[in-house]
């Protein structure tokens, strides 16, 4: 096998195949429902039902229906003791393993921001109000961020160790990116990766307190955008050494070809307005894949619809790319934080497989300061070979991955 060194110094020996994927989000349960929602440009954001939002500016979020989530669990008795974050990741992993039942990862790398946070809330409220703490051992046991991942692995008899990445809103993309590097370096043959997050009151109120979330529609890159809405979900991708996957006759859904990470130290919650952080992440991704910007056919933007993010990201994209189609699918399902990068990677996978551009809904008027080619309001058929997905988070963490269509 020929070893070479990329522009950013990475020794690599292996191509990296995505051999299976699964997803649960407000867009639907599974790849098929997600594809339908994307093609029909559905707005899957609605009024929050899980906790009171009476005192919040924002009242809406993208939510995964609780009853159906429970219905989808194979072991309902056990499922009742688990957090809904576990339910989501179990559903997503179940779908992936339906495609690749024999997939045995050596490592699991999953992103999240808040683990079983709502159980932490239940526990604190009960303590504070002198309420019934009979369930507290269950709440405490299911609160840690690694627990939903371990639950999902256990549900399918997978024994791989897990690394739980918590890089704020970039967690999912960072997890996939690191998993990609692990396989590409030749140290691992198979890595399971993805991200999850379930809506919680603490996080919802947190973004509301920062006035980052909007009482209106989420309008990424729009001139009149007023902020984000939150979401939730889980997605997993099974990554495998390309040659090994081909040798055993596995179906290659797509390849991951590049990953870039950067940290801008501007502010804990705001990006550097120059866009240097996102720009570095995207540049490093292109370098890592050995391609130029004009080879990219579509960008799934971080696109939270906050004034700060979209300006910085828009500036970075327009400096690097020439009128490449861009959309933020958060407009349809909200920002699922640690799951976002993983769900959006699955959306990119669907775009590659089904040759279309996912829409940026609720878009009315372009921002004069953001010079992007927005896929406005409707999905569009297109020839799509290479896509880039961005995720940026608190703490100035920025991550991008590149995916390429594979023709057998």
């Amino acid at each position: 096998m020929v070893k070479s060194t990329s522009a950013n110094g990475k020794k690599f020996t292996a191509r990296v195949a995505v051999v299976a994927a699964g997803v649960v989000s407000p867009l639907g349960f599974g790849l098929s429902e997600t594809l339908d929602s994307l093609r029909e440009a559905r707005d899957c954001v609605n009024r929050v039902t899980r906790f009171s939002v009476a005192q919040c500016r924002c009242k809406t979020a993208g939510q995964v229906p609780a009853e159906r989530l429970l219905d989808e669990q194979r072991n309902r008795v056990r499922a009742r003791r688990l957090h809904r974050a576990s339910h989501m990741i179990i559903c997503a992993l179940g779908e992936a393993l339906t495609q690749e039942p024999q997939f045995k990862p050596e490592l699991t790398v999953i992103g999240t921001t808040s683990g079983g946070m709502s159980y932490g809330e239940d526990y604190y409220r009960s303590l504070k109000q002198g309420g019934n703490l009979r369930h507290s051992p269950t709440w405490i046991a299911n609160y840690p961020a690694q627990k939903p991942v371990i639950d999902a692995l256990e549900a399918f008899g997978i024994a791989a160790p897990c690394e739980v990445v918590s890089n704020a809103c970039a967690s999912g993309t960072n997890a996939i990116g690191h998993a990609f590097d692990c396989v590409r370096s030749g140290r691992y043959q198979r890595v399971l990766t993805g991200g999850y997050d379930a809506l919680s009151e603490l996080v919802f109120v947190g973004f509301d307190s920062l006035q980052a979330s909007t009482p209106e529609k989420c309008r990424p890159f729009d001139r009149h955008r007023t902020g984000m809405v939150l979401g939730e979900g889980a997605a997993v991708l099974a990554l495998e050494n390309f040659n090994a996957a081909r040798a055993r006759g596995a179906t290659v859904l797509a390849e991951i070809t590049g990953y870039g990470i950067s940290t801008d130290n501007f502010h804990l919650t705001q990006p550097d307005p120059s866009g240097i952080g996102p720009r570095r992440a995207m540049e490093r991704t292109l370098q890592s894949a050995h391609i130029s910007a004009d080879a990219v056919d579509y960008i799934n933007a971080h696109g939270t619809a906050t004034p700060f993010n979209d300006t910085a990201e828009g500036k970075a994209i327009s400096e690097l790319f020439d009128r490449v189609p861009v959309s933020s699918t958060k407009s349809m399902m909200g920002h699922s934080l640690g799951a976002a990068g993983a769900v959006e990677a699955v959306i990119c996978l669907l775009a590659l497989q089904h040759q279309f551009l996912p829409p940026n809904i609720n878009f009315r008027a372009p921002d004069e300061d953001i010079h992007l080619n927005i896929v406005a309001n409707k999905a569009q058929p297109a020839l799509v070979s290479t896509v880039l997905s961005n995720s940026f988070g608190f703490g100035g963490t920025n991550a991008s991955i590149l995916m390429r269509k594979f023709d057998a």
């Binding site: 060194t5 110094g9 990475k10 020794k11 939002v53 005192q55 919040c56 921001t113 932490g120 809330e121 526990y123 604190y124 409220r125 303590l127 504070k128 002198g130 703490l133 507290s136 405490i140 046991a141 840690p144 961020a145 690694q146 627990k147 371990i150 256990e154 024994a159 160790p161 897990c162 690394e163 739980v164 990445v165 918590s166 890089n167 690191h178 590097d181 692990c182 370096s185 140290r187 009151e201 603490l202 109120v205 947190g206 973004f207 509301d208 307190s209 920062l210 006035q211 990470i261 950067s262 940290t263 801008d264 130290n265 804990l268 919650t269 988070g393 608190f394 703490g395 100035g396 963490t397």
Partner: protein, 376 residues
Amino acid sequence: MSLAIAGMGWITPLGSGIDPVWERLLQGDEAQAEKITEQFSNQCYSVFRVPESALTSSPRHPRLRRASMISRFAAAAGLEALQAAGVKLDSQSAERMALVFAISNGGVIYTKRFYRDIVEGSAQSASPLLFPETVFNAPASHLAAILGITGATYTLVGDSAAGLLAIRMAEDLMTNEALDYCLVVGAEEVDWLLCDAYRRWRLLRLAPPVEPFGRIDRGMILSEGAGAILLRRDGPIIIEGTHAGGNYRKRAEAEELMKRILCDLSRTKIDFVISSANGTFIDKAESRVLQQVIPDAFVYTAKPALGESVGAAGLWQVILGGQALHCGELPPLLHVRRTIPLQISPTRVSLAAAGRAIVLGSGVNQQVAGLRLSIR
């Protein structure tokens, strides 16, 4: 792939600075317990806190003005590790350094305060200043800003094994030749809310001592602080290999997992093991496995002296292993109340010829990992 430890730093309930804390451990000192009381009842807990005096020399930086204690601990340990390695970062070298951060409960004090305001008041009482500090990667972000790191920064969340998993991740990252260094930091802060949670889980002891390898699992004492190691490709203390371990479903399964890790790591002669025994169920599992797999190796745990610092624990263990190899001795193992079939010593032990050690990271929340150290 092997990595070397270029520098180490820590801040602990026994103070800060590698050599002063190590000297206290050798003398058999243990941290002074502090009583803290639950807010909603009179339940009292003992914790090992970082003494204020240990923070006097900690760095001053605008990012740390409003930051949580966990971020201050991390900054102090991280900067000590860099200083010990003689590494000064400029914009070019900072790009060639990655930061991997291990954490378990994160900024629990600010998280509790933020949510308390919501519960006691309303969503409108929630502080926009506190919320960003509740995010798991806030401490890593502050440290990256202080050091000027612009490349890879990762925060890993887990139990006491998280520190070793972070070193495993660093090992994977260092296959990238664009990196010269990886700084691995583990940190934790303590609060009554955590004490209450661990008590309800029957893992906590209300007052010291922590009695490792006891007949009865009397529980652990929580502590706080941070540990940091700076990794590069060569140096005298080598991390010969990491073992990402796995997850155990039930407590009874932890032993099998530990055995697999120890068997894999002990294919060469092991002189001593830095155990994670902390007075809980993991002690018995570790004890049985150590007896079976490497009965001749000396066993040491610092948790009776320093407490269970969860996210920082793995880094402290690696530092202890590195120091023991470097100095050729192990501190006394405190509060072992019975004869157990392990090589342990209530007094300091000379290990002048010691060449290899295993660090075993057994968490109480289902994760186990390990690594092997050697000295050139």
